[in-house]
């Protein structure tokens, strides 16, 4: 990489580069790809957990981003804008993937009796997170169970708990109200708890 190129990669602001891409500068486009491609690949990979699929997402995200660049409003940062695009590209790829076995969420929510008292079996034996993470079989099982969550709940759980985005960011990315994000997150966690229960209780070990 030439010295001038290296300097451009670190010196020019995203805003300046966006202006130059709009004025048909290919080198500015390349700088944006090199500057942002790495973290975008990490985001896509953490959602899809598939390297080839994640690279496709980044490619789709840039194609989409470049074609919509003229409409990029400078109110939000360029990185925030790109993040939303790559997250949506990744979620779209997951949606288009093989038909998944989805659990019925209603059957996985907590139960209460007529007195509004919770029904919950005592937890006598509980595996530690270390025991679970330490076993390849259990790790695979956890990933499978997350996959069983209905799509709109799984997306919220992935973005909030795994990607650690804020409620407001998830709301903006998925086009939901913040209240709806919270409700879905809580239900997704509750359902996942139920799905992971036999595993966390060490049953079938």
């Amino acid at each position: 990489m030439s010295e001038a190129r290296r300097k451009q990669l670190t010196d020019d602001s995203d805003g300046e580069l966006v202006d130059r891409v709009l004025a048909h500068s290919e080198s500015a486009a390349e700088t944006l790809v090199r500057r942002h491609g790495g973290w975008m690949l990490r985001v896509a990979l953490s959602i899809t957990r598939d390297r080839a699929l994640a690279e496709d997402c980044v490619q789709d995200a840039f194609a989409n981003g470049f074609s919509r660049l003229a409409g990029f409003e400078r109110r939000s940062g360029f990185k925030t804008w790109l993040n939303r695009i790559v997250v949506n590209a990744a979620l779209m790829k997951l949606r288009g993937r093989r038909a998944r076995k989805e659990s019925d969420l209603e059957t996985l929510l907590p139960s209460f009796d007529a007195n509004e008292c919770r029904i919950e079996e005592p937890w006598r034996r509980v595996l530690t997170p270390e025991q679970i993470v330490g076993s390849e079989r259990l790790r695979t099982l956890v990933l499978q169970k997350v996959d069983e969550l209905p799509e709109s709940y799984r997306s919220v759980l992935l973005l909030r708990d795994i990607e650690e985005m804020t409620t407001a960011e998830v709301a903006e990315t998925l086009g939901m109200s913040p209240v709806n994000v919270k409700v879905r997150l809580h239900r997704a966690r509750a359902a996942l708890k139920r799905l992971l229960e036999p595993l966390m209780r060490g049953e079938g070990q």
Binding site: E26, A29, E30, V33, R34, G37, G38, L41, R42, L45, S46, R49, R51, E55, V58, Q59, F62, A63, F66, P110, F112, D113, A114, N115, E116, C117, R118, I119, E120, E121, P122, W123, V126, P129, I132, V133, R139, V142, L143, V146, L157, D161, I162, K182, L185, H186, R189, A190, L192, K193, L196, E197, M200
Partner: protein, 103 residues
Amino acid sequence: MTTSLMSRMMRNAKGIMFRNIPMMINCRDFENFMIDYIEGSLPKRQVRVFEFHLKLCRECGDYLAAYRRTIEVSKRVFADADAPVPDDVPEDLVRAILDARAR
């Protein structure tokens, strides 16, 4: 007395207790407060009410612990499953993006 009858009587007694103790919420209200409690966004007064219920209710205590553990386990399993990604974007990906743009 059978265990199930015993357990039903205990649950009824608990229901009556939760309805009648001042500042006490029932398990369903507890459920509705959980996400804000975990995020630390519950107002102080409601935190006291939430924790008062937590002290007296074995079921909600067990449930909250398992719910927290679920979050921790999923975070750690995903962190572990993420293959390392180099900081630089792979060269063939950069080329693919720029070539698609040129078309």
